[in-house]
């Protein structure tokens, strides 16, 4: 069933249109940087964007930082919100459930498909960022980069930490996917499920800026999203990275459980 869902997702043109649109913004930013030579100061603007003028191999990280706050979660919410509600709206859900696999397996297959979408999307954003960065910006074969702590990172270290960052960003999106998937079991409207997940994210981002909400800040789904930057400190700051992974795991477990509790007992008529 997982294979079926994966094939279905990646054969849809809109999946690739979504990924293409996601890449448009970092590419536009890169072109503007090249044309104007105006990068933000280090520590300002999206992470690592300031460094790409002198080292294009860092652009994959800048590209991830550009899409992470808004565009990537929107794409994930759209795909995950569509997973069950889209089938219900299209009248195909009851046919899917006619297969002997059962509702729980369908739910898991949908989640795996969404996770695969997130991973493929993040990897493509990073890959396009690498191609764009090394094409448009200066790259020296033995270039070394200065990390946030002022220590020198070799190209191998940058590559290894970039892979870790890609993995972390993928995990960071699982909470969004879980929210959208849960909402997708509550309604027959994929738009409503997507908007529900986005409302949670906007609320989380807003609360994170308020001192009055500091007591609940460690539990907000967006709290640790930017912690992929911590891979480029020396020594690596694992504290927020591990908390971010743990928090996403909790959201996935709880929301998938709620989705399972709701979906396996729901009257499916469409």
């Amino acid at each position: 069933m997982i294979g079926v869902e994966l094939r279905k997702l990646f054969r849809r043109p809109r999946t690739w249109v979504t990924i293409a649109l996601l890449n448009a913004l970092p590419v536009l930013v890169a072109v503007l940087l090249v044309l104007t030579d105006l990068a933000p100061r280090p520590g300002e603007g999206p992470a690592f964007l300031s460094a790409v003028l002198t080292n294009g191999t860092l652009f994959p990280l800048a590209a991830l930082a550009i899409v992470l706050p808004l565009f990537l979660p929107i794409a994930v919410a759209v795909v995950a919100g569509d997973s069950i509600a889209g089938e219900a709206q299209g009248g195909t859900l009851r046919y899917l459930l006619a297969r002997p696999a059962g509702r729980t397996r369908l739910l898991v297959a949908k989640l795996v498909a969404v996770i695969a979408f997130v991973l493929v999307t993040v990897v493509i954003v990073a890959a396009v960022g690498y191609v764009v960065g090394t094409t448009l910006f200066d790259v020296q074969p033995l270039a070394t980069s200065t990390g946030l702590s002022g220590t020198v990172l070799t190209p191998e270290q940058v590559a290894g930490r970039t892979l870790l960052a890609i993995g972390y960003v993928t995990i960071s999106m699982l909470g969004v996917a879980a929210f959208a998937l849960f909402f997708s079991t509550l309604t027959d409207s994929p738009q409503l499920a997507t908007l529900g997940a986005l409302a949670v994210l906007i609320g989380s981002s807003l609360l994170f800026t308020l001192d009055a909400a500091s007591a609940i800040a460690p539990y907000l789904p967006t709290r640790y999203w930017l912690s992929f930057v911590d891979f480029f400190r020396d020594p690596v700051l694992w504290r927020d990275v591990t908390r971010g992974i743990g928090l996403q795991a909790v959201y996935v477990v709880v929301l998938l459980g709620a989705a399972w509790a709701n979906f396996t007992t729901k009257d499916v008529t469409s």
Partner: protein
């Protein structure tokens, strides 16, 4: 129908129970009772002061509750005392440590060695070398609980410290100590320090003022490991493409250069003038412990600018003596005029003590 209802029920019960366990876990961990130790307050204070040879790595957060009407030049100090500062620290000894201020997309690291400090600023891609000036503005490393706790307790007398309840800080048992300044002019009502039960290292410091329940400053470790960090972690070599600079000593700034010599009284508001290393002669420092008042003459332009800022501060008291404000335990007062010259009085004293000091200063110097 009935079986559907039961099926609906148990699934949601499982989810609700799982959620309850997950929510309760952090609360239960936070509520774990801390072990106390039967040690006197004076002995605990001595252990804290002797903890400067305890090596550690840690992660700390400092939260300032002061809103200071300071100009652009002192914005970093105002931010330090009014915002949240997140720090990573590695400590091998008093002359071998590193403190990084961590932000979402950057960091500023201070590396201490035997000859001074390197400060790395990622935002400016700049490494700055500094020696150990006797007079310096507060920086993030000063707010690390271990450093601040030792500094504040070093000013206390045994009679001013008492034991308080233990707490769990950074997942460790921490024994409580309260420093209550005895001086009547003090605006700091208490300094609460929690010390690591094993090493005596200050793990949390809370500075309180009498006029509000919100701490003026709360700095604490969230993680602590007493394994000695490697020398490679604390050392620093500037990147080849970084710009290099030299820290400017405060006594080289306008603060020390343009001040006219004045005869300041030996005591103000019941506080005795004391010697302070590196402080220019025109600046008077009064008081003991954490009850300190500094008095400095101000050049005309600086005085006019500060007077405007102070008068615009909510709660400012403006009378014949001058203008004075309090920001938590910190009091500021400006007296004088263009004709007679101006003085700034600043310190951890009450507004009444500031007024008394201003009156005595005016009587002595003729400034009004």
């Amino acid at each position: 129908m009935a079986s559907g209802g039961r099926r609906f029920g148990w699934r949601w019960v499982v989810v609700a129970l799982g959620l309850a366990v997950l929510v309760a876990l952090p609360v239960a961990v936070a509520a774990l009772p801390a072990d106390d130790t039967d040690v006197s307050a004076a002995d605990l204070r001595a252990r804290a002061l002797a903890s400067d040879d305890v090596a550690f790595s840690g992660y700390a957060i400092s939260t300032g509750g002061l809103t200071l009407p300071l100009g652009d030049a002192l914005t970093p100090v105002a931010d330090l005392l009014s915002d949240q500062t997140t720090m990573r620290a590695w400590y091998r000894g008093a002359e071998d440590w590193r403190v990084d201020v961590v932000t979402a997309t950057g960091e500023t690291g201070t590396h201490r060695d035997t000859d001074g400090t390197w400060t790395w600023d990622y935002a400016d891609q700049r490494a700055t070398r500094g020696d150990e000036p006797p007079l310096a503005l507060p920086t993030a490393p000063d707010l690390l609980p271990s450093a601040l706790g030792r500094r504040l307790l070093s000013e206390a007398t045994d009679a001013e410290v008492t034991r308080t309840a233990p707490a769990r800080v950074a997942g460790r048992d921490a024994v409580g100590l309260r420093y209550t300044p005895a001086d009547g002019a003090a605006s700091v009502s208490a300094v609460d320090v929690w010390l690591d039960a094993d090493t005596g290292l200050p793990l949390q410091v809370v500075v309180r003022s009498a006029d509000t329940t919100i701490p003026a400053l709360d700095t604490r470790f969230l993680d602590l490991d007493t394994t000695e960090p490697t020398a490679a972690t604390t050392s620093f070599t500037p990147p080849t493409d970084a710009s290099l600079g030299q820290d400017q000593d405060l006594t080289d700034l306008d603060l020390g250069r343009r001040l006219a010599d004045v005869d300041l009284p030996d005591g103000l508001a019941g506080l005795i003038r004391r010697e302070a290393e590196g402080v220019p002669g025109a600046i008077g420092v009064y008081g003991t412990g954490i009850t300190v008042l500094a008095v400095t003459p101000l050049p005309g332009q600086a005085a006019r600018s500060l007077r405007s800022q102070l008068q615009a501060t909510p709660g400012a008291v403006v009378d014949d003596l001058g203008v004075r404000i309090s920001a938590g335990p910190l009091g500021l007062m400006l007296i004088g005029s263009r004709e007679t010259g101006a003085f700034l009085l600043a310190g951890t004293v009450t507004l009444d003590a500031l007024a008394t000091a201003a009156q005595q200063l005016s009587d002595t110097t003729g400034v009004r």
